[in-house]
Symmetry: D2
Subunit: 367 residues, 4 copies
């Protein structure tokens, strides 16, 4: 008979920033659980809901993607496998495929239990823990669909062949992701200055305000009491650059307008570049304050690099001003035409190239 | 509101050998349906059952694998996508990931309906139709799992990155598959002479005898009244070679023993090789009789090639004896160590190499 | 194997006002399907959705209530029975347990298919068809729960032991129901004059405006092209009486106030009684216009009878003025203390008494 | 948000003989859980499986039957209600509607969790605990279907209007049931002497041997460590009487034949009556041994009473021989023609009459 393991079970390893209650809420892209079992049959009991954006999950067995599917509302009993030999050990990971949807705070995903007819064994920690902070690129937007498909829907998000998972695989690292499509370090693609990752970084899952997500703890301050990341990789700036071309955003509370401007010659207004530069430096200070020992990398450039000088300069200024020797800028490979996937976003080629660059970069710096 | 399209709907294209009733039974690996729709939301209503081996399906959107999952017993409402734009055309294919399970004739899969909030559009025929006849290699066994996993379970079967689908993609061809793990042209790996593909080729789904599968029509004679394949590719012989090393099989009805023997020096007994050779020639005659205009290829060699001379010789004898100018032997790339996947079977590298070879071979011969 | 019968199947009898499309939308209390089958196994495929008020169904086998349950969102495969003998005939009815919910126009219920491993046989018409038009009493509100439970939720609505079904059973009649909790003939309990049954009577399901219900056809004019009812029973007036004690309703479009008033001595203002009286007479004319041959009964009095004189007088005036000899007032048994069920509504005793009265009344008048 | 309460939760009251593990296996007719909650929304997570006989459940809210439905295989999330007021207390009972199926030991039912958005409150014990031991009558066979339906299927079993539940209700008692259709005190209707309730009484759920049921603990010795019943009511003998008319049963292990015989004049062979009489006395001794303080009632006669003298005599002999003053025979009302339900078994009238008799009988004897 199958046993139901609650999420308190110590041999269930939890990935991603969450509040560790049972059932376990999964908020972020790539959040999930991991286990090793000798069971012949394995199920996950999941609970999910949404108004607009349904949840998707992916399950790997021994590192091979085996299940990828959307979830309906209510409880789902997902069979991972059945009929396997009881003597053999299977290594299983469950991933949330999609980012937290700020526009649908009733979208949520919880792991209720693991059901298996065998025992669970300790998973252990991988040598490193990496934290990635980013935008749609880091949310895996578009990676799940072919170029030509331009739909802002959950099914085009995926963690398969994702640069974060690939980087982590190459370095044998655990990872977690904090990311939101369209957001930046100073403002979002549409000049919304509240849609900046630094603003929500201190919360469990800041972009989800209200609804079921908040009832699950999304807006609680995050304790940062767990394992300290060995490296924090910030992949932000792409949307800040877009904002120069977009209309102003008006704060509905204050009526104040926000816009990054270009000069008459089309170049970025230096005064506005300084806002970005200050935001970069400010976020670096915040991160250093929270993660005393982490190597901090500002990675940039997967969809063009108009802000390369601005960001690289800001990082270097921060280093000079702070004396921090464990922060650095890293240019990622720019997208190539044949690498473009759905929503004109980086596809597998792009993610593979980024992972190779980052893994090489980090391998030299992590000891 | 979503409309329910029954399977009689002319714009639903059906793949794979079946009886074209509604609901539509899917028997073989890679069987499925294909459609083009402008819907914003698409669901498949599937019905499935099993005693031992559960069904798995895979769904591609615009050629990208988006859903892969097992099915429980009963009716499943599988959401392919929701929330897409109504103006855009999406090209969707549903595949059965697993072969018909002769050992579980209550395992079955039916497509009840397609549910969409838009219209379906004609899919059209691809320039070629290819039929593949094979064993576990052609059933995609092991392709769905990593080397080291050795489990005879449905989840290690897949059509993703499968040499048949890749060959068809490279040639822009439709395809269908007739295959059974462990079976051969003369006998199965364990000398069972009833487990030979030629024995069941005339039936809708010969290996499933009794149970729900037979109620669905598995044992009905197949009409061969549909589109004529441009090429028939037989990938058999691998299990026949294994049979030389295995104990005899005793026919439970007659008590007669069957075994392919090796001589004292370890070589294959020429008398037994002739049985295989005769079986090859016989099957070629049968195929030519059914498919007058098809190019017939005997492809061999993805897991070793101990029977290369035997099979190639038989093909050439058949050509000489029949004057058939449209039959030919084709050696496929042998497995390499880093290509091995679950169940010690060919993985993605192996399948990609076979597809490249076959596509090149066929491109020159199909006009 | 089970066969899927679409709702076009002629041997599936449809009950209740709807648009006869496939899948079949069920709007009203007691709407449903009926069939006779020799199958050993029977399932209903239902599709349902809601924002606030979930759907409930009930299934009778040979007149015995066997299944009663709520439905989730999406497709449900409801097994009615399995393992019965194939030789025996089973008579099955599916009922919608709940009224259309005007406050949740995304609540809906559709019958997708009947699934059975046998044949369906003609059901035939019962000798009479009765139509009931009413309020919460006729919606079966409270009948599904014990006194003391006061919750405006779907689960307290039921058609089991409902006076309409009991009346129909006693007379061997088919029936359909058009009813809304809180509504009246002139205005609802809270003086809302748009919440009057005559206002929505000409539509398929008038109270559901917008949302999925309207997409399913709720607001289409109803054709009245089907079988002519032998009797139309109006059970309205209970909420009109309540309105005298409630505050005015203000029409949000015109700003006009509506209120039924009492005089200083607590009696109903005769001017307002006339509004009700006129509404009664108007509705009788409408009904007679639509249903030329029906016997029309105004039944009243299951929860007090403060408007008995008003309504009975209006019916008699209508008769006198029109010369209509086939319209009549019928006083129903008043609720008794031990008959009270949930929401202080009539329970089983009350419904049984009303059915007995009505069946006796109609038996004498229907030929 | 809903909380998941595991079955260890102290405020979930468990009914019926089981092994108190989590998830909680329900074996016997009327087994289930009971709770009081202020939640607005309540769900039960159930897990069920079967080969032949599906499980059915029934749910009462405040003593009113609200849900009755079959379960599929796998996990079901059963919504009991939603949208109720949080301030109000709801009293909910979940019942297993069907007996343990000895012929389908893979049929099982487990309660995984209770899901609610409120708190659970203590249920408390009712003043008495009654244990009923019986055959199909006590299993509620036929009670769920109309006369004329003759099908040995789960759907005709029910606990609604069941004499055990009615007796318990009249006395404000808790109850549990141990019963098997077709079984007797000495032998089953077909002379099978292993199908006698005394043989399996000491086990958790003796009739289910092997399969999932046994893995869940059906064949474990029952500890009898819980609350002591105030009365044990044995309702056996009906099938023993039938056995006189049936062919012999041959023990497959020993080859020995067993048959209760009639004499030439059609009367029961006194030697065989003595076997029954001895079995009655033996079982009374066993019950007294286990339940020192219980009032023991042998109730008989709901479907004819050919063994009345035999059983009543045996009870009186037992009393005389043992000096036991708290054992007694009780004749139940014989079935009347209009009381017959499905499978020619007692229907609601019959169960109501039996409950009235038994409640009166016990009321005088329990203090």
């Amino acid at each position: 008979m199958n046993t139901y393991f609650p999420l308190e079970e110590k041999n269930i390893k939890i990935h991603g920033r969450t509040v560790e209650r049972s059932p376990l809420a999964l908020f972020w892209t790539g959040s999930g659980i991991e286990l090793v079992t000798d069971a012949s049959e394995l199920h996950f009991e999941l609970e999910s809901g949404f108004d607009i954006y349904e949840q998707w999950i992916r399950i790997e067995v021994n590192g091979y993607s085996s299940v990828r599917m959307p979830l309906g509302t209510g409880v789902s009993d997902i069979c991972v496998f059945r009929g396997m030999e009881k003597r053999s050990m299977k290594h299983v990971r469950l991933f949330k495929e999609v980012q937290p949807m700020g526009a649908d705070c009733d979208s949520y995903l919880r792991v209720i239990s693991v059901k298996a007819d065998g025992a669970l064994y300790p998973v252990g920690e991988r040598p490193y823990l990496l934290e990635f902070i980013g935008d749609s690129i880091t949310s895996g937007e578009g990676l799940g669909g072919r170029r030509g498909l331009n739909e802002w829907v959950p099914s085009v998000f995926t963690t398969e062949k994702h640069y974060v998972l690939e980087t982590a695989r190459l370095l044998d690292a655990d990872f977690n992701i904090i990311s939101q499509s369209g957001w930046g370090v100073y403002s979002s693609w549409d000049n919304n200055v509240t849609h900046a990752l630094p603003k929500i970084y201190p919360y469990v899952c800041g972009p989800q305000i209200g609804g079921i997500a908040e009832a699950l703890g999304s807006r609680e301050p995050y304790g940062f009491g767990g394992r300290v990341p060995d490296a924090v990789i910030v992949n932000l700036g792409t949307n800040d650059a877009n904002a120069f071309k977009e209309p102003a955003w008006v704060d509905p509370e204050t009526g104040k307008k926000y816009k990054l401007n270009t000069l008459d010659d089309g170049s970025f207004d230096p005064a506005d570049l300084k806002k970005i530069s200050d935001a970069v430096k400010g976020f670096l200070k915040t991160l250093r304050c929270i993660h005393k020992d982490a190597y901090i990398v500002w990675a940039y450039g997967m969809i063009g690099r108009p802000l390369k000088d601005c960001i690289e300069g800001a990082v270097n200024e921060y280093i000079a001003e702070s004396g921090d020797r464990r922060a650095e800028f890293c240019l990622l490979p720019d997208i190539e035409d044949e690498w473009i996937a759905a929503n004109e976003h980086p596809g597998r080629g792009s993610h593979a190239a980024a992972a190779k660059t980052l893994a090489g970069f980090l391998r030299e710096r992590l000891t």
